[in-house]
Amino acid sequence: MEEKSCPVISKHIKVALVGQPNVGKSMLINSVSNAHLHVGNFSGVTVDKTEVLFDYKGYNFTVVDLPGTYAFTDYTIEERVTHDYLCAEEYDVIINVVDSTNLTKNLQLTAELLTMSKKVVIALNMSDEAQKEGIEINAEYMSELMGVPCVKVSAVTKEGIEKLIDTVLQKHQDKKVKPKLVFSEPVEEEIAQIVWYLDKHRFQSENSYRNIAINLLKNNKKTYEKLHDNPIWTELQPILIEASKHIELHHDSDDVKEAFAEEYASFNRGIVAEVLKQKVKQEKKTITEKIDSVLIHPLFGIPIFLFFMWSLFQLTFEVGAIPMDYIDAFFGWMGDTVGATISNEDIRSLVVDGIIAGVGAVVLFVPNIIILFIGIALLESTGYMSRVAFLLDGFFHKFGLHGQSFIPLVTGFGCSIPAYMSARILKNDRDRLLTLFIIGFMSCGARLPVYVLFAGAFFSPEMAGNILFIIYISGAMIGIIAAKVLKMTVFKGVDEPFVMEMPKYRLPSLKLIWHTVLTKTMMYLKKAGTFIAGASMLVWFLSNYPHNLALEAEYAQKIAVESSANEKQKLANQRSSELLEQSYLGSIGKFSEPLFAPLGFDWKMSVALQTGLAAKEVVVSTLGVLYSLGSDVTEGDNTLVGAISKNISFASAVAFIVVIMIYLPCLAASVVFTREAGGIRYFFYLLAFTSIVAYSLAFIAYNVTRILV
């Protein structure tokens, strides 16, 4: 669907994708366009609306991906996004995406959409999976019964996609056709009466009288508001009250919404019975249920999960370490080669010691990051994510967290920004804020380089993987304890219910994993090439200026007098580090050194922590620049790992890791946090909270380690 069409003369169509969560809306958009929307096998992957544009048959399509919603309610923030969009925005056609393998439940939302008097096309997605499960749906018959076109599609095999778009085009040109939603006789009678009444008074409205009647009976707030100020209201109200009573009586319920849900359900059951044939007899236990009996086993469930986590960090370190030497060597070679071509000493230093050393230090960890991303992608796409939320809910609950908090928290291991966004799946504002406050405790991918660097500097390769695992787990534990403290003090309140769909297990396609990991890795690299390169240049500048000519001359003289090469080298190194200390950065470091002295940090570490407020990768690049400047030509090991194990004591390193684990993730994440939390004051709370916790725990860690080691 690539042929370009002129944006001016071609016609525009705006399509809204609506459906229950996890039915493949985002994937469907990916398969009709070149978009790479985030896809995952759990409810609540998409939490904000996204527009995707593409051209087809001379039309400009704008497709809007909306968060999945179970019903037309405002249960969670992300469902509110969908609801508001559908009620308030302009669009031409709704594609209602449904999961063919779970039709009855999905049609529940469809029934509600059909009372909106919008043009609707139903996409029967996952037809490939339905076929495998022996489910056959007669789409033509279904279209006829419902009065709405239904098209079988599969976002994975791309089967039926063209037909779907053609149907949307056709529907767009058609006049509105009334969908055929039929209720039980008593309800139909009440509807007829209200329709008759509206008709009698020639009530002006865009929506059909029938839909207005249904919405009124269902207690739909918006419809009520519309009619409330109309003169006919005084006469209509008693009729409505009477009608609701009849319906409630008929359904033996005191809740008219429940009564309507039952009406819809029985209509849907009728449709499904007509159009769906289960050709293969279903086994007693589905594969998903068999897997569940192992993975969420009451005893083994949690140990299995911990084992997976541990394996991931082992792999991250072990496999990630293999290409590291090459990358390191490459940047070393590049520094030498590029450096040789530049004659101006200052520019040479800027390029080699600033940009190449800084960016190189960050790129070095790309292999580790890739493995971590693969792990998260697998967790997201197989369906295991919801299982872990299930396993941990009991435990989380004790600490005042909601089981579903697990999803944003795990996302936080990748990057805090999407994690803050995905906290929207939590219904309750208090739960959501609480989760927002502790997402930062889940170490994001950008902190991994710092950990790998330090674990590699102080531990044998066999142990380093375990150390990574311990760092991540303790970060998470500290976060959970922090949650408990916050819950007992600030976010007091009742517990929210926990009801969550458990998707079926799916074998993720390699393509999907590849795309997810590639997109995230490219983002990391792009950041290294832009933001980090810029920050490295800044750090370089601050650490080279102002020039102290007197000091330089003094050393030049000393070196000239000295005869032994060894002594010359020593003096050169001494010169470098003295120059560095009196630079701008050195002054900043020296100024803040007393603050960090109780944690055992030298001024370079203090500076790295401060630049790390911009982004955690900058910690590594700053250390890279500072240590490559401080010791120009060194004896033996001149890697950053070597420099760190030589210059930093073990206790200081532990304290440093603790601070990195806890303090603010980065500038960009802080901005998103502020937006999601809903006010700048929350940012200051977060800043104070994390700084205090980080400082106190680092202080304890430093002193305990010093006593023990």
């Binding site: 309610t73 009855t104 439940k105 529940q108 319920s253 569940d292 926990f498 769909e501």
Partner: protein, 75 residues
């Protein structure tokens, strides 16, 4: 008549009434967990803190407090 939380693993029951209030009730209903629905208990976390049930073709995780509010009869 008993509560859903009192059911054992593998038991199949029919829903009689939802004692949940407003929003939670709406949510359960939108999951298909409504009067007359057939529910099967699939898995239980330790001490039945959380349970996994099957409603129609869908699996649902519920916390004990919520399962407490669903009156069922054994089939």
């Amino acid at each position: 008549m008993k509560k859903l939380i009192e059911c054992e693993r593998g038991e199949k029951v029919r829903v009689l009434k939802l004692h949940a209030k407003d929003e939670l009730k709406q949510r359960l209903i939108s999951f298909g967990l409504m009067k007359e629905a057939i529910v099967e208990v699939l898995e239980q976390a330790p001490a039945k803190q959380t349970i996994e049930v099957k409603v129609g073709k869908m699996r649902l995780a519920l916390r004990a407090q919520e399962a407490e509010l669903i009156a069922v009869e054994v089939l």
